[in-house]
C-alpha cells in the first residue's frame, strides 16, 4: 500500500523539492504551508502515515504542531520528523519532549531522507 506523507514547510522550494523527491520514491504527498494549515487538514480527515515538518513557520511553528498532533488520539503514534535548519541541542531536546520521532537538519539528501522515512515507516 502506498504510504502518505504530510509535508509542512513555509518555503515553497522546500515543499516542492520534498514533494517531488518523495513522489519519485513512491510516496503519496500532501502539503501544508504552516502548522495551522497542517492541523486543519488533519482535523478535516487527512490520514498521513508520517508528518515531516519544519520548525520555524508563521502562524504556527513545528513545535506547537507536534504538541497539538500528539494530543489527537488518532495521531498519537504517527511518526513526526522535523526537517529544520535548527541544529541547537536545546531545541532538539524540546522537540523530543514534544513527541517528535526524529530530528533532521537541513539540507538532507533525498537518499537519507527516504532511508529515514522507511526506517520509521516499516513497509514503506
Amino acid at each position: 500500500m502506498t504510504q502518505r506523507v504530510l509535508v509542512v514547510d513555509d518555503s515553497p522550494t522546500m515543499v516542492m523539492s520534498l514533494k517531488t523527491a518523495l513522489k519519485m520514491n513512491g510516496f503519496d504527498v500532501d502539503t501544508a504551508g504552516n502548522g495551522q494549515e497542517a492541523l486543519s487538514k488533519l482535523k478535516a480527515g487527512a490520514k498521513p502515515n508520517l508528518i515531516l515538518t519544519d520548525i520555524n513557520m508563521p502562524l504556527m511553528g513545528g513545535m506547537e504542531l507536534i504538541g497539538k498532533v500528539r494530543a489527537m488520539p488518532e495521531f498519537r503514534f504517527v511518526p513526526i520528523l522535523t526537517l529544520t535548519t535548527e541544529g541547537d541541542s536545546a531545541k532538539r531536546d524540546e522537540g523530543k519532549r514534544m513527541g517528535a520521532t526524529g530530528w533532521l537538519v537541513k539540507p538532507v539528501s533525498g537518499d537519507d531522507l527516504v532511508r529515514v522515512i522507511r526506517k520509521v515507516l516499516p513497509g514503506a
Binding site: K23, S89, K106
Partner: protein, 448 residues
C-alpha cells in the same frame, strides 16, 4: 555609492587632521600670551607694592607735621606714588589688554572656523548617516529580490526535474506494459508452437503408420498379384485339358456316328462334352485375359505406389518443419529475453536516475538554508539602519553626553543569540575573533 562614501570619509579625515594642526598652533600662542600677561601682572603688582610702601613711608614722614597744612605735599605724594604708577601700570596693561584682545579676536576667529568646519563635518556625517537609510534599503531590497529570484529559479528547476521524472516514469510504465504484453504474446506463441509441434508429431506418426500400412497392403497386393500370376500355368493346363477333351468329344461323336442308332445316346453325350470343353476353353481364355489385365494393372499401381512411397520419404520435411518451428520459437524467446533484459536495465537506470534526482533535490534545500541566512543578514541590515539613524541624530542633540544605549557590539551580540544554524554561529565567531563554535556536536540526522 561606495566610492562616494569612501570619498566623504577621506575628506572628513583630512579635515580632522587640519583641525588638529590649527588647534595645536592656537594652543601654543595662547600659552605664550598667558605667560606674558602673567609677567605683566606680577610686574604691576610689584610696582604697586613698591609705590604703596613709598607712599606710606612718605605719609608717615608727613604725618609728623600738621596734616591740613601739608595737603599740597600729600597731593604731590599721591600723585607721585599712586597716580603715576597707576598711569604706568594702566598704560602697560592697556597695551597688554589690547594685544590680548587682538589675540583673543584672532583665537576667536580661528575657533569659529574650526567650529564651523566641525559643524559642517558633523552635518555631513549626520547627513551621510541619514542617507545610509536608502543605501541599506537598497541593499535590503537587492537581497530580498535575489532571494525571490533564486526561489523562482529553483522552483523552475524542481518543476523541470519533476516533469523529467514523470516522463521517465511514464515511459517506463509504457515499456513495462508493452513488455508484459510481449511476454504474454511470447507465452501464447510458445504454447501455440508447442501445440503445433505436437500436432505435427501426431500427423507424422499417423502418416508413418499409414505409410507402413500402405507398404504392407502393397506387399499383400503384390503377393496376391504374384499368386494370381501363378494361376496362368493352371489356365493353360485347363485350356489344354479342354482342347484335349474337345478332341476326345469329337472322336467320340465320330465313333458314335459310326455306331449308328446304337451310338446315338453316346453321340449326344459326346456333343455335350465337346460343347463343355469349348465353353471351358473360352472360360479359361477369359480368365487368362482377366488375370493378365489385373496383373498388368496391379503392376502399374504397384509401380505408381512405389514411386509415391519413394516421394513420401519427404516425411522428413515434417521434421524439418518442426525443427524450423522450434528454432523460430527459440529465436523468439531469445529476442523476448533480450528485450526483458533491456527493460530490466531501464528499470535499473530509472532507479539510478531517481536516486540522482533525489540527491539533486536534497542539494536544492540549500536554497532554503541560504534564504534563512540571508533573512538574518536582512534583519541585521535593518538593525544597522536604525542604529545609523540614531547615530545621525545624536550629534545634533545638545543634551547628548556621548553615551550610547546600544552599540554595534551589542547589536552583534544580539544577532549571535538569534542564530539558528551552528554554521551561522561559527562564521560569526570566526569573523569577530570570538573563538570557535562547536559545529556538528550532534548528528544532522537523529532519531529519538
Amino acid at each position: 555609492m561606495a566610492t562616494y562614501a569612501g570619498g566623504s570619509l577621506h575628506r572628513l579625515s583630512l579635515g580632522s587632521d587640519r583641525g588638529s594642526a590649527s588647534e595645536s598652533d592656537v594652543e601654543d600662542r595662547r600659552e605664550s600670551r598667558l605667560h606674558r600677561a602673567r609677567r605683566r601682572f606680577v610686574g604691576t603688582s610689584l610696582l604697586g607694592t613698591a609705590c604703596m610702601v613709598a607712599f606710606l613711608g612718605s605719609l608717615c614722614l608727613v604725618l609728623g607735621e600738621e596734616f591740613y597744612q601739608h595737603w599740597v605735599s600729600i597731593l604731590a605724594l599721591l600723585t607721585l606714588f599712586v597716580l603715576l604708577p597707576l598711569a604706568i601700570a594702566g598704560s602697560v596693561h592697556w597695551a597688554g589688554a589690547r594685544q590680548g584682545i587682538a589675540d583673543l579676536g584672532e583665537v576667536g576667529k580661528l575657533t569659529r572656523d574650526q567650529i564651523q568646519a566641525a559643524a559642517a563635518g558633523r552635518n555631513a556625517l549626520s547627513s551621510e548617516l541619514h542617507a545610509s537609510e536608502s543605501y541599506i534599503g537598497v541593499m535590503y531590497q537587492q537581497i530580498g529580490d535575489s532571494l525571490n529570484q533564486s526561489e523562482q529559479e529553483v522552483l523552475q528547476v524542481i518543476g523541470g526535474l519533476g516533469a523529467l521524472n514523470e516522463n521517465a516514469a511514464d515511459q517506463r510504465q509504457h515499456i513495462a506494459e508493452s513488455m508484459a504484453n510481449g511476454r504474454d504474446v511470447t507465452r501464447a506463441t510458445e504454447e501455440r508452437v508447442n501445440g503445433n509441434k505436437e500436432v505435427i508429431a501426431a500427423i507424422e506418426t499417423q502418416l508413418q503408420e499409414q505409410n507402413d500400412e500402405l507398404r504392407n497392403s502393397f506387399e499383400r497386393i503384390e503377393s496376391m498379384a504374384l499368386e494370381v500370376g501363378a494361376l496362368q500355368p493352371l489356365i493353360k493346363v485347363i485350356t489344354t485339358i479342354a482342347q484335349q477333351t474337345s478332341l476326345l468329344a469329337l472322336n467320340a461323336e465320330i465313333e458314335a456316328a459310326r455306331a449308328g442308332s446304337a451310338g446315338r445316346g453316346f453321340a449326344v453325350v459326346a456333343g455335350e462334352v465337346r460343347k463343355l470343353s469349348v465353353a471351358t476353353t473360352k472360360a479359361a481364355a477369359d480368365i487368362a485375359g482377366k488375370i493378365n489385365t489385373t496383373t498388368a494393372r496391379v503392376q502399374k499401381e504397384m509401380t505408381d505406389a512405389h514411386a509415391a512411397l519413394a516421394n513420401y520419404q519427404s516425411g522428413d520435411e515434417l521434421s524439418h518443419l518442426i525443427a524450423g518451428l522450434t528454432e523460430m520459437q527459440n529465436e523468439f524467446c531469445r529476442n523476448s529475453n533480450m528485450l526483458l533484459g533491456v527493460v530490466g536495465e531501464l528499470d535499473t537506470n530509472y532507479a539510478e536516475s531517481v536516486k540522482q534526482l533525489s540527491q539533486a533535490l536534497g542539494h536544492i534545500q540549500f536554497q532554503d538554508v541560504m534564504r534563512q541566512r540571508m533573512e538574518h543578514v536582512q534583519a541585521a541590515l535593518v538593525d544597522m539602519q536604525a542604529h545609523l539613524q540614531l547615530l545621525g541624530e545624536k550629534p545634533n542633540d545638545p543634551t547628548w553626553d556621548g553615551h550610547l544605549e546600544r552599540t554595534f557590539k551589542d547589536i552583534l551580540a544580539t544577532h549571535l543569540a538569534r542564530y539558528r544554524m551552528e554554521r551561522q554561529t561559527a562564521t560569526h565567531l570566526a569573523s569577530t575573533g570570538g573563538g570557535s563554535a562547536k559545529v556538528g556536536s550532534r548528528p544532522d540526522i537523529e532519531l529519538f
